[in-house]
């Protein structure tokens, strides 16, 4: 296991690169999903198209999507953009439904009360409906983030970077460099769990009312 300590700098640098490859798509995907999800929530025909379409998109295995991206985007096979674009699509496929469901779940009474107070539709969305849907959104973002961190490693098959490199590189020599392979796996899992925990904390930070309620009742 001395290999790990000797290469700790490189491992950490690659971890950082891996996070970028995984999480930028989550952010971009989220920003695109919020308006799309709102459309699906608001208009029944849109929902009938968007939700099944996202489901179908989510069904496509990551390796297949990574390989097909150059056809769609016109990039070279080795370009990390392929992986990031595919992961953005996955994030959108996951979160559009989450946003729609979350907005659906906001109680009608609350919405009615807000209208009664005098909120117009836009203000009502940003001040009431969206904030109330945040806890569910955060849950969805956590799933997307963790799954993306794991999926970036599949890109190693087509030579995209990230921690997946250690999985393929470690399996080239005979006997293989097990320390390297295991280090790669462990780091990916640790990164995912860490990001999951951080997002959970972030979620609780930006929704203080959920904590207040817990405090009162528990």
């Amino acid at each position: 296991m001395t290999w790990v300590w000797d290469h700790i700098d490189e491992l950490l640098a690659t971890s950082w690169e891996h996070l970028g490859l995984a999480l930028v798509p989550v952010l971009v995907g989220l920003l695109i999903s919020i308006p799309l999800g709102w459309v699906a929530h608001r208009y029944r025909t849109a929902r009938a198209i968007l939700v099944p379409a996202s489901s179908l998109l989510y069904t496509i295995p990551s390796l297949a999507l990574f390989v097909l991206m150059p056809l769609v985007l016109g990039t070279r096979i080795l370009d990390p953009i392929n992986v990031m674009a595919a992961l953005t699509l996955y994030t959108i496929a996951l979160l559009v439904r989450t946003v729609a469901d979350a907005l659906d779940a906001v109680s009608r009474d609350t919405v009615a009360a807000a209208t009664a107070i005098g909120y117009g539709p836009t203000r009502r969305f940003f001040a009431v409906e969206f904030p109330l849907s945040v806890p569910v959104l955060v849950a969805g973002v956590r799933v997307a983030a963790v799954s993306n961190i794991s999926l970036v490693s599949v890109g190693a098959i087509i030579g995209v970077g990230g921690l997946g490199f250690y999985l393929t590189h470690g399996s080239q020599l005979s006997p293989p460099n097990y320390a390297e392979i295991i280090a790669g796996i462990v780091l990916i899992v640790l990164l995912a769990l860490l990001v999951d925990a951080l997002l959970a904390l972030l979620g609780r930070f930006i929704t203080p009312w959920t904590r207040a309620r817990a405090g009162v009742h528990g």
Binding site: D6, E17, G20, R76, P80, F165
Partner: protein, 313 residues
Amino acid sequence: MKIRIFAGVATALVAALTMTACGGSSDPLSNTPAQQPTGSGPVGKPDKIVIGSANFPESTLLAEIYAAGLAKKGITVEKKLNIGNRETYMPGMTDGSLDLLPEYTGVLLQYLNKSAPETAPDEVYEALKKTLPASLIVLDKSSAEDKDAIVVTKETADKWSLKSIEDLKAHAGEAIFGGPPEIANRPDGLPGFKKNYGLEFKEFKPLDAGGPLTINALKTNAVQAADVFTTDPAITVNNFVVLEDPKNNFAAQNVVPLINASKASDEVKQVLNAISAKLDTKTLIELNGKLSAPDKPDASKVAADWLASAGIS
């Protein structure tokens, strides 16, 4: 509360953007302006040489040896290793984002000219020099060779009295052959076996390019014959038998530096040619053995150690 949401999202945004900025993967094939080949005339000492390597251990090792040798001469070197296969890195050589990489005469010739018939070392080398694009040249070839070979275990060789690939013809129908996936497609792979030796194996098992899967499959008799590279230390360690290739199905594969003509200054040529002269197949096997050692040393260390012991200044 809206401020909290805003603060939270802003933090996440900043974090994400920082990660992209810091972790931006170096694309070796990014659009840098192509080097203008200066053609004939002496080349001045280059300000920087970008060394690339293919995505397998020996290529990286050779690139590290070149890099260490050039650095000793005071030439600035930038390494872009483990790029991928030939299709992936060759565009980098032609568009100027890569300057130098270690190559093998036979496969490079085949890549440039699919129907090249040459198989003997000197003929392959001369044909290669003629087939290269104008901006690229190869320096002196080394006697060090790393060829594909059909390899069997000692038990199998004894059982079927195998010395050369021709002897395999009688038993191929009951044998499973293992190798890298591309061997099914390459002219010197399965098609070549059929054409040159009339070999048709019972089954082909796609494994890896002379890696642990192939060695393990051979050892455990999951395959009876396999494509293993001649500089693989596993051959001697496991007492494997390399079958002779009298019909030269596998062309010569001498190690040779492929370099951008505009970077081939006299000093560069002197260092690289000295390295090529000192390298031989036995050395490559030894160095590959060091890479596979339990502590898995870095290629840069193995390269530096060898350079020092080889006395190349």
